[in-house]
Amino acid sequence: MAKWGMVIDLDKCTGCQACTTACGMENNTLPGENWQDVLYYSEGEYPSGQMKWLPRPCMQCEDPSCVHVCPTRATYKDEAAGGIVFVDWNKCIGCKYCMIACPYGVRFYADEKPLVEPDLKSIFPGENGQLWSPPYQGPDEDWRRGIGIQPKGVVSKCTFCYHRVSKAPEGVADLDEDDPELVEFVPACVRTCPPKARYFGDLDNPQSNVNRLIGNKRGVRLRDETGNRPQVYYLGAGAGVPAFQRRERS
């Protein structure tokens, strides 16, 4: 079985957030429930200030701290599914311990105050046990893997678009959106990325393009000191996460 990994080339990324909106559309997430997000950071001052950004999917860690803390095994790393970390919405009790334990802030409890009001959850009230039911909901659903629209009271997260990836032919080294045979199996964020800053493939296959890119361009994992060993690698300048610092306030 493959070990799915993602490579994000920051030398190409333009910070446009197409990955974020594609993910939101594909997975029917709520505003602010950014399974895929782009984080902006800035430092320095005119005329030599800098601004940088970092696209952030779930890192699908090899040793995911979220999985260790989940008291019900609702969140689990599915080696048979390429090492993707899922939340089983039938088992999640909404204790949110995994949200505490994730160093990358990729988990969401959308059953919360809306970021943008009025609340879409009340405009499109949930039916069939869902948290909300928008008319543009996608057809895929698999609650055991956190795919579809979640019920109330559970945690949601990026699934590497498993409902797409899982349909890829067995043994494929890379899911390249430019291949017409594969485009429908590529995760939404990778598929749409205009500068082609994202790549998706099998980290267990030494022949895969993702492994070649990691090798050639000195791929790094974010916050490697956590020991979580992400399956998402970053290339290029700016792959560091600046420490939190308080801004000037007055």
């Binding site: 446009c16 197409a18 594609a22 601004m51 943008v116 801004r247």
Partner: protein, 830 residues
Amino acid sequence: MNVLKALMTRRRFLQVSGAAGVAGAGAAKLVGFTAATSTPKTAGAQARGQTRVTKNICHQCPARCGINVYTTNGRVHAIYGDPGNPIANGKLCPKGHLGTYFLYDPDRFKGPMRRTNPRKGRNEDPGWEPISWEQAYDEIAGRINELRRNGEAHKFAHFYGRGWGPSDAGLYGAWGQLIGTPNSAIGHASMCAEGSKRAKAATDGNNSYNAYDYRNTNCMLIFGAGFLEAFRPYNKIMQDWGHMRTKSPKTRVTTIDVRMNPTMAASDRYLMTKPGTDGAIALAIAHVMLTEGLWEKDFVGDFRDGRNRFRTGQTVRAFEFEEKWTHGLVDWWNNELKDRSPSWAESVTGIPARQIIEVAREFGTTRPAMAIMERGPTAHTNGVYNGIAIHALNALSGCLFAKGGMFYQMGPSYGPGPANPADYMDDIANEMRGKYPRIDMARSERWPFTGTMMQETARNHNAGDPYKLKMAMFYSTNPIWTAPDAPEWEKMMSEIFVIDTSPFPGETAMFADIVLPESTYLERLQDSPTYPFEGWPMTALRVPAIDPIYNTTEFGNMMIEIGKRIEGPTGEYYQRIDSVENLLRHLARGFANDPGDNGVNDFESWKEKGVWYKKPYHWRQHRGVFYEWDGEGYNRVMSEEEVGEKLIKTASGKFEFKSSHLEGHADYINRELGIPTDRVGYPQWVEPRHTGGNRPLHFVTPKTPMTAEGRSGNIPHAVAIQQPIVGGNDRTYLEVHPQTARERGIRDGDRVRIRSDLGTIEAYARYVPQHRPDTIVLPYEHGHWAQGRWATGQGRSRTPGNPNEITANVSDPISGLACYYTGKVDLERA
């Protein structure tokens, strides 16, 4: 089980469609205790129903990306870039994925409506009453017929913003001709980006945006174009960016702009200049290119003896220089450029001369190298002069019509329409022809260079000069909010009969007498020849993914249906046009003789593929020789006459550093800008005249990548990622340098008041130490007071306010482009 599930799912969809917005949460169970009662969804992975993919074109910006629209069980749920579309190539920008939210926006208008409240105002409920399409068309046509009978046909005006092609905005020409109004239509270009077009017209004779060959360029100067935010085609630009920044050699990019933004941040180098001074930097770069002998000699020419005589401050004798494809270089040098040294530019812009020299050397020694621009430099009173100074760099680098350079766009091989309007002119139409000027006075002696001056309309109407309108129809434009000094429009629109055609509520609709809601783009049949892109012709098609979910139709059909009801031969003309679909079928006949590269040769195959295109671009300049495509290669050498006729369309047939176009109205320019008449032709430094006088701060209102044709204010998913630079995820914030804020006692997060000559708006401030201290930035999106529940929610309609309310209605006298970025303001704590 699965069957049951599918049925339930379908029912759910039906319920939602009927009851969107009805709160159903009242009966919800206690959340913490639902698990025991609700059946867990234990079934495995499943997908409901069959998915159909249809072709369409995105509507979130002018770029016209082809999209694949995914529909399952009658619901559109996904949009991806069409891999077969040469702009999209399977990709989309962040706005492209928002389409489903627009389609299912619960605030959409559900059908035609008539106003019952005669009073108009921001706080007046229009009192909409639903009417039938027949009633609506009859009433509108009746009013137009009456105007025509009274010799007042010119008092009907069409206004439009985004025109897509022959099946919508393309109908305006015949309409004006047949109805007898010069105001069909007033386009929004003068509030968009006319500046760069006029700069090209003035120098290379093409009144157009450029097509670009980014993939092959090795060096770029980006002047205030929002290249990685809002330049079109944004999606393709980013695709090319990924290529440019990883190819060998990597394309070197320098960005010149007035505020920290993603383009700057991603560039190799940035120069943060003072608003309105881009031209000074361009002139200094040109100056260095000449003094250091870095111009492209194959294109521009050279000194006869090959010895460079360009020295700062010293004139050159004209006969010593032999020009090839340019005109007036030595005159330009002697009359302007010789004094435009980098240290001079430093005194104007504050950018150190050393940095300007670095940029000039890199630009001058790298080929192909291009300088691009858009509204940043041109939305000022000196806009065209900034623009031609920048465009002059493209002549000096020789990238015009070159590989890795820039050129112009070819049109598609359309067949003729179903009827020729000239055959349907009645007496009224003939009598009205040329009788009255346009309401906006574009193309008149008041604005001799312009094509359209939408922002002048309300002012002219309110002054009764040249006359007052009686009736106006709006399509894809909302000047009552977007025009500079927007409130002026409220007065005009209170006085006239207004028809709005937007699918969505908005400020125009608040003042409308009749609303004819258009279908959203995913429900439309509509064609669209490409915006300037890579030069070769292309036209894409919107194919409805689903039947309109409400009682709506295409704008083109509205025009045709109203036209059918006009008395006399006009009605017959529109009977012949019949419908948008009929028109498109006629146009598509042109493909039969010229099938596209993807095999599209008729209407059906066009619908199936979504796009007709034909590569390559037909012309190329290589080392100072122009070639034409002969079917196999760029093999046919073009004569000077052919180049002048087809490519460089100036009086001289050369790129003009001494613009005959501008000299054609030298007295006008002298009057408006104070430039001596004998100097008006040169790219030169002209001080911008900032509105707001002595107020201390420049006020700029850029678009972020999430500005979706002015509609993302009501899309919660867009609001939530609108302004990542300062974390604006619930509204847009005013970006202000901390020093500027502190001087005024403003803390991060404070509510502030921005004051111009016209009034004040409020916003919340956030500190951005990377910005210029003299420039404050408020991205343009929120402040809509009638766009729907999210646009007005959480105070987004007031804080921030609409920047256009405090933007003075001042335009570049040459291009007519509204000077959105030239205002100066005060800032204080609210």
